[in-house]
Symmetry: C2
Subunit: 334 residues, 2 copies
Amino acid sequence: MASNPPASNLDLINECDSFPHPTTSPQAYHAYTTTLYHLRVAAHPETTLGYILPDVAAVLHNLPDWEVDDESIPRTITLISGSNEAARSDVVARTTEAMRMTGHFKVLEKWRNELYPVYGPPSGASKKKELLFSMERCAAPLFGIVTYGVHLTAYTRTTGADGKDEYKIWVPRRARTKQTYGGMLDNTVAGGTATGEGFFESLVRECDEEASLPEELVRSKAKQCGTVTYFYIRNATAGGETGLFQPECQNVYDLELPSDGSVVPKPNDDEVEEFYHWSVSEVREALGKREFKPNCALVILDFLIRHGLITVEDERDYLEITTRLHRRLEFPLA
Amino acid sequence: MASNPPASNLDLINECDSFPHPTTSPQAYHAYTTTLYHLRVAAHPETTLGYILPDVAAVLHNLPDWEVDDESIPRTITLISGSNEAARSDVVARTTEAMRMTGHFKVLEKWRNELYPVYGPPSGASKKKELLFSMERCAAPLFGIVTYGVHLTAYTRTTGADGKDEYKIWVPRRARTKQTYGGMLDNTVAGGTATGEGFFESLVRECDEEASLPEELVRSKAKQCGTVTYFYIRNATAGGETGLFQPECQNVYDLELPSDGSVVPKPNDDEVEEFYHWSVSEVREALGKREFKPNCALVILDFLIRHGLITVEDERDYLEITTRLHRRLEFPLA
């Protein structure tokens, strides 16, 4: 049986950052953004907060709290009820709960009871970002809002015979029973950040829950190294409806562990099957086989790039990849 | 005398990455890109290679090797002579030389006798990038082509009393007599990469020329850590005509030097006045005072972000800055 050719690094990016780019595919981008409905709130009528598919928009027609405009350019769905965060969040909760009750949307079957934040444009002299409302996590792709998370790569580093650094990366395999991407490879620690939780605090919590990493070590040694951002259009591997929109912003952290093996990640719940301690070539082989969850592949590529383990000399698409890992999204951010 | 308020990190980005973004300023972007002339070559009639101001386009009217279309959307200037790289480069050399002779363009007074590459879209099964032609360095902003370079940050790292890393960064001050940005702060080593030169090889050369850093050390210890990309519209500080376009792609390198001071950068020509060995807070103060050359400020910000010295917790605009340092350009890249 012939095996598939290995994925290039750019293939991995294209599979995760799949929404067309306005700079390089202006026609496709225009076609998408004029067909979709732009999510807005009455207080910021010019600011798009997410993209909604026409199929989903159909369900929001004739609801009292929402105004759907099919004729405007772009088409819009505006939350017209609620003049502050709490009131808007209540309306959104009622709407998403009602959508769940219809049983129409498969993604809503994975209800998490976790609220994710939606921000408005910077305002006032302080340029503070306003929290407009929160929304149940599993409904986020129906409204195409930006979601946030933290991804950490734990690794060890030793000096090789040639005097160069030799890296080994801790890679978990997701439990085969997990609802999404079961059995795929992941980043050492990764999770979503809910409303009201600080990014670093959510990292500390996830490091304990997912990898049994001691809090004190994480607080003193985990280093934020930037972000990875992309705009994913859900396909069959994500489960649930396909074609939904997931613009995501991941805060990226590195954690160098002692090379003597005195600290190693261990599964702490049933989400992780096993942790591997892999060389860079083992990691790259698994990338080529598409074994990583799509967005985790991007975080690994960012790690390899930041540590000089992929360079412009050995990667044909380097200059494209380094920009694609940091997509500028068209929505207000946290 | 009142001093100016310090620049925020986002101010520094906005001053260097000043061309409007299509995602967040679609109207301004559209206004620019429909007013400008799009540089093309006959072999790739759909691919824009750079942006040309109407003032510059006027000079290219009625030249035999170029076809100017004022009526198309977008407006185009197409190089119609030359069917291969050498022939196109000859035509471009004749054109830029003729433009220089008129004495009309101030930027052409700084003729460098250095050729910069212009690439076409990836082609064929190998997705190889085709070198379309080369152009004299100082003419690049008149045609708005992407230029490439290498920027290295040399630093030392020690462990502070709190167990955290303490960084000191080597920062040169440009000679006051330098034609551009005289007296401003720079990255430890930085330079443009000409046609035919590899990025890493150009880095090794510049490390010797600008900072007397030993070749063997640079080859074994300098690490590529990604790129910084931005789209600059030249203003008065750049010298010459204002409003010209400079989309740039900088390969970014780190070089950790021994903390015992056994290797330190030293000026090797008259381009650098002095090297400072500054703490992070000294560097940040100089950034706030706009003492860095604009694009070098971005490379320093990228360094501080990659090393966890700026985080999402202490920088209001973190999530915007991390994407803005990696702008996706609309032109084919090397």
